[in-house]
Amino acid sequence: MTARTTSEEAVPSEGGTISRGGTSRRAALGRSPVTVTFALLIGLTVAALLRSGSTAITGQALLTGLIAGGVYSLLAMGLSLIFGVLDIVNFAHGAFLGVGLFVTYEVAHQTGLNPYIALPVAIVGLFVLGALIQLLLLNRTIGGSLERQLLITLGLSLLISNVLLLAFGGDPLSANLTSDPGVHVFGAVANLSRVIAFGAALVLAVLLYVLLERTSFGRAIRAVAASRQGAGLVGIDVRLVYVVTFGLGTACAGAAGMLIAPFTTITPTAGDQFNILAFVVVVMGGLGNVTGALVSGLIVGLVEQLGGVAIAGQSPLLGVFILFLLILLIRPQGIFGAKAP
C-alpha cells in the first residue's frame, strides 16, 4: 500500500520512493504465499496431533478454528472496505460490532421472537450510523494525518461503548436461541448458531465481491481506492462514495454483531476484543480484497485454535501476531494480493 503522505497525488508521495528493487529472497517467498500458508497450517495440525495425541481433539480444533475464523472474517470484511478501500484506520470497528449486539438484544427482548429477525434492523441501523459518522466527522479528515484519524476513531470507540453503558448498564445480557443444537461434522461438533454465522460469512463475501466487482458503484469505490484525486477528476462524487462505503463497512459490523449475538455475552465493551484481530485479518487478506479477508479470517481462526492445542503455556494469539508480522514484512500486499494499491 503506497504511503499516503499529506502531499497531493501529483507530487510523487514519499511512498513513490524509487525502490532499490525488491530483495530477491522476498520475491521468492512472496511468489507462493498461498502454498507457504497452507504448509504452515499443515505443520500446525501435525504438531497439534502429536501434542494432543488424539484425532478427536485435533479434528475439533480444526472445525472450531474454521467456525471461529468465520466470525473474524465477518468483522474483517467490513473493515476491509473501510481500512482497505478508504484507507481509514478505524479503531471504532469493534464498537460498531457492540452496537449490533445491543440492537439484536433489544429487538429479541422487545418482540420475544427469534433474534435473527434483528438482522435487517442491525444492517440498516448500522449503515445509517456509519454513514452519518463519516458525513459529519470523518469526511473532514480525508487526506489528513494518520494519527489524527486514529485519535478520532479511538474517541468514537470510547464514546460508543460508554453510551451503551449509559443506556443498558454494565450487566451482561444475552440473546439466546430457544434451542441451539450441536451440528456434527466428522466427529467434531459446533453450535447451529455458530454454523449459521459461518454460512453468513460466505454469503457476505459473495455479496461484497459482486458489489465491488460487478456493479457500477463498486467500480466507483475501487476507483476512489486507487486514486482519490483521479476518481474526482472523472466525475465520481468522492465524498458520497466515502459516506456510502463507510456505511457499508459498519453495516457489515452490524450484521456480524447480530450473527454472533446468540453465542456471545453482550456487554458494552464486548466488541473491543475483536478490534486488533480484524486489522490483522484485513492486512493478511490484502487491503480491499474482501475474499482475501474471508480466507485469512479462517486462517487466523485455525492458527489460534491449533496453536492453543499445539503450544501450551503461551497465548495462541502470539502465533497469530508472529504470522501477521511475517505477512507485513514479506508479503505486504497480503496473501491473496491487495485490490487497493
Binding site: M1, T2, A3, R4, T5, T6, S7, E8, A10, V11, E14, G15, T17, I18, S19, T23, R26, D87, V89, L137, R140, T141, G143, G144, S145, L146, E147, R148, L150, L151, I152, L154, G155, L156, L158, L159, N162, V163, L165, L166, G169, G170, P268, I276, F279, V280, V283, G313, Q314, S315, L317, L318, F321, I322, F324, L325, L328, L329, I330, P332
Partner: protein, 348 residues
C-alpha cells in the same frame, strides 16, 4: 516533460522553531518549569496524582513526538518501550535491589536497542505509515502476551515495589503524596525537553526532519537514512522508557496490562496530537490539557446539572464527555493547539 509546480502541500507545522535560537527555547522552558514548580502549593493535596499524570503524559508524548512527529515514523506501539522501562526498573529493583536511577540507564538502553531492531527490520522491508503503525502495535501486544506468560517476570501478578520505611532519593521512594515525586517528575520532563531541543538542532535531528520531508532527496545528498532513523527511534524509545521507570516508581506496581497495554500507546499519541504534532511545545500543552480532563469531567459530573438527572446512578457519562471533547479538539484543531495558534498568528 510535464512541469509540475510543487503545490503547497499541507506539510506538518513548519519547523522554523529550529532556526529560533536555542537560548529562547530554553528560556521558555525555564518559564514553564517555574510556573509548574509552584503547582504543589497551588494544588490541593488530593490533586497531586493529576499533576503526576500530566508529567507522565508529557514525557511519553515528547518521546512519541520525536519519532512520529519530527521523524514521520508513526508508531502505535510506544507501550513496548514504556513497558521495557517499567519492567527493567522493577525487575532490577525487586530482584537485585538496584537503584531506579541505575535501572533507568539499563531500561533506556534496552528500549533503545529494541527500537533500533524494530526500525532496522521495518525500514529494510519498507514498512510505510499505517503498516508501520500496525507493526509496532503488534510488537507491543506480543510483549504484553510474553510478559503475561513468562514466569521469571512474575506473569500476570507483575511486581510490587517494596515500601521502604523512610524516604530515599537513591531508591526514588517517598511518603504518599510527597512533593518530591512531583519535582523529580518535573525535572525529568525538563531534561527530556532539553534533550529534544538539542537533538532537533543537532546534525542528526535536522536530518531526521529532512528524511521525513523527502527520503530520496536526503539519501541523494549524502544523509545515511537508516542510521539517522534508528538514532531517532532509539532516543524516542529511551525517553519513553524513562517515563515507564517514573511510572513504576510512583505507582510502585507494574503488570503486563498496565505496562504494555495499548492504553499506554494511546497515552503517548493523544497529548502530542491534541497539543500539536511536530512542534516542540505540542506534547507539553497536550499533556496539560488531557491530564486533568478525565478528572475534570468526573468532578463536574459529581454534581450534574438538572438536564442530566435522568442519568443519575448510571456510570459512564464522564467518559462520554471525555470522548466527545477528544473528538472535537482533534477535529476542530487539525494542527493541534500549538500548531493552530501558530497558524492563526501567521495569518493575523
Amino acid at each position: 516533460m510535464t512541469t509540475t509546480t510543487a503545490p503547497p502541500a499541507p506539510t506538518p507545522a513548519p519547523t522554523r522553531e529550529r532556526a529560533q535560537s536555542l537560548k529562547r527555547s530554553l528560556l521558555i522552558l525555564v518559564a514553564i518549569a517555574a510556573v509548574a514548580a509552584c503547582a504543589p502549593f497551588v494544588l490541593p493535596e488530593s490533586r497531586q496524582s493529576i499533576a503526576i499524570r500530566v508529567l507522565i503524559f508529557a514525557m511519553m508524548a515528547i518521546g512519541w513526538n520525536l519519532m512520529s512527529g519530527y521523524g514521520g515514523m508513526f508508531s502505535f506501539g510506544h507501550a513496548a518501550y514504556f513497558g521495557i522501562g517499567a519492567y527493567t526498573d522493577t525487575y532490577l529493583l525487586v530482584t537485585f535491589g538496584w537503584s531506579p536511577w541505575l535501572a533507568l540507564v539499563v531500561g533506556a538502553a534496552l528500549a533503545a536497542l529494541v527500537a533500533a531492531g524494530i526500525g532496522y527490520v521495518a525500514f529494510r522491508y519498507k514498512l510505510r505509515s499505517a503498516y508501520f503503525a500496525l507493526g509496532t502495535f503488534a510488537i507491543a501486544e506480543m510483549l504484553r502476551l510474553l510478559a503475561t506468560n513468562t514466569k521469571w517476570v512474575n506473569g500476570t501478578t507483575g511486581y510490587h515495589v517494596p515500601l521502604l520505611p523512610e524516604s530515599s532519593w537513591t531508591m526514588l521512594q517517598f511518603g504518599a503524596n510527597a512533593a518530591e515525586y512531583f519535582y523529580i517528575g518535573l525535572a525529568m520532563v525538563v531534561v527530556c525537553m532539553v534533550v529534544t531541543l538539542l537533538y532537533l538542532r543537532s546534525r542528526s535531528g535536522i536530518y531526521t526532519v529532512a528524511i521525513r520531508d523527502n527520503e530520496d532527496a536526503a539519501d541523494a545528498l549524502g544523509i545515511s537514512v537508516m542510521r539517522v532513523r534508528l538514532t531517532t527511534m532509539a532516543l524516542s524509545a529511551a525517553i519513553t522508557a524513562a517515563a515507564g521507570m517514573f511510572y513504576a516508581q510512583y505507582y510502585t506496581f507494574v503488570d503486563p496490562d498496565t505496562a504494555f497495554g495499548s492504553a499506554q500507546s494511546v497515552q503517548a499519541i493523544a497529548p502530542a496530537v491534541i497539543g500539536g504534532v511536530a512542534t516542540p511545545w505540542g506534547p507539553l500543552v497536550g499533556a496539560l490539557i488531557l491530564g486533568p480532563l478525565a478528572d475534570l469531567t468526573v468532578t463536574w459530573l459529581r454534581t450534574p446539572p438538572a438536564f442530566l438527572d435522568f442519568l443519575t446512578g448510571r456510570s459512564g457519562l464522564d467518559v462520554v464527555l471525555y470522548a466527545i471533547l477528544l473528538i472535537v479538539i482533534a477535529l476542530v484543531l487539525p494542527k493541534g493547539i500549538v500548531g493552530s495558534i501558530q497558524e492563526w498568528w501567521k495569518r493575523r
